[in-house]
Amino acid sequence: MSAVPDEGTTPEPARPVLAARSATADLALVSTFAAFIAVCAILPAIVLPGMAVPITLQTFGVMLAGLVLGPRRGTLAVLLYLAVGLAGLPIFAGGTGGLAVLGKPSLGYLLAFPLAAALAGYVMTRLSSVRRSLLPLGAFAAATLASLLLIHPLGISVMGARLGLSPAEAITAGATFLPGDVIKNALAAVVATAVFRAFPDLLRARR
């Protein structure tokens, strides 16, 4: 209830939909967003004009889950997605899946996903009462913070260790993903804002 500062004094009419705030509603949001990340990852990659590397939307889905669902539910959605993917369903980027990702140099990026969703969700929650016109900017900041503090450092460290690279070499290799990530985070911010506009209570009742 960002709009009403003194909640205690204003009698609130009951919301009609019991389900909107219950544990079953959270369960449904978490599993649907896990599925949404899967769909983002398996859809054909988007080719943007002027960019050499086509971008897959896996990280976009992860960030969106954090931004929209908040730290707790967002992290659970990403963990569910990872568990089902590791179990052998082909829902990781490029239609891969199974335990093989554990052996790949890109493992660090995957491990960073739940943490990134948690951080992006937490920052977004702190920013949830900013002016509506600043929401996209806030969401972009939250997502960018998560990718710069968690996804890239973890991803690059694990890749460096697995491939026996020096820090400088690893950072050079990992930096190729940065421009794509800026675009994905901007997309996640725009889309999260659209979702908040359609479902304002997602921004209010955050956990």
Partner: protein, 245 residues
């Protein structure tokens, strides 16, 4: 027996774009004005325009919507304080079976309904297969739900709800999305049920077969009783264009 005692429902409407800033207030709208009635007939139909409040009335009965004022009792259990007991007695069928069917395969979906009976997993699966066989869906028990036709999905939704043998079945426009053939299958199935059925519908023929018909217009019950008069009133309302939605 279903009792509504001055049960009304209000909700927040999303604020208009220009009001939506840090100072904007949301509007409170009335979805159903306080309503009092006792529903004991075996076949009850609820008709009304889109957005008139008839779905809200249906949702009140299994606690999916809670009254903002007054109360709703099912066989004495209050939907607000004893929701679990109410939902054990009242099954609910949605318009869109895709919304209702939540598990990947029919057998898992029916088994989900059976969880409340306290059976173990193997017993649930076996029982679910029996239920599916009764509804002619045995061969599709393990197909993905997404591979079923719309009619098969609605049949499965009914099977899932009826598997626990509720005393009351509330159906919110169960045939709206179906073709004529499946509409007849679902209608016949509902007609033959031993349970009390509350049917929200746009199908006036089905409404005319009920024991009692409620007409909802602009969040109010404007007629309650004889099916023939109800259908005539509803036709008048639709023709005059004076309704919501």
């Amino acid at each position: 027996m279903i009792e509504l005692e001055q049960a009304g429902v209000t909700a927040y409407a999303p604020a208009q774009p220009e009001e939506r800033g840090s100072g904007g207030h949301e509007q409170v709208v009335t979805l159903l004005h306080p309503t009092t009635c006792t529903l004991a007939e075996r076949r009850i139909a609820v008709i009304g325009a889109n957005g008139s409040g008839k779905s809200t009335l249906a949702r009140l009965i299994n606690g999916l919507a809670l009254p903002s004022s007054g109360r709703v009792l099912v066989d004495g259990a209050d939907t607000a304080t004893d929701g679990a007991a109410v939902r054990r007695r009242v099954g609910f069928v949605f318009t869109d079976p895709d919304a209702q069917l939540v598990m990947p395969t029919p057998v898992e979906d029916v088994a989900l309904s059976l969880r409340r009976l306290g059976l173990d997993r193997a017993a649930r699966t076996a029982r679910a297969r029996q239920v599916l066989a009764r509804f002619g869906l045995a061969e599709r028990a393990e197909l993905p739900v997404s591979a079923l036709s719309g009619g098969q999905k609605q049949l499965l939704a009914l099977a899932g709800v009826l598997a626990t043998e509720p005393a009351v079945l509330v159906c919110d426009e169960p045939t709206t999305l179906l073709d004529l053939r499946w509409r007849r299958v679902v209608d016949d199935l509902l007609d033959g049920l031993p349970q009390q059925v509350l049917l929200v519908t746009h199908d006036l023929e089905a409404a005319a077969r009920a024991d009692r018909v409620l007409v909802v217009d602009q969040a109010q019950v404007v007629h309650d009783g004889d099916p023939e008069q109800a259908v005539a009133l509803y036709r008048d309302l639709m023709a005059s264009g004076a309704t919501t939605g």
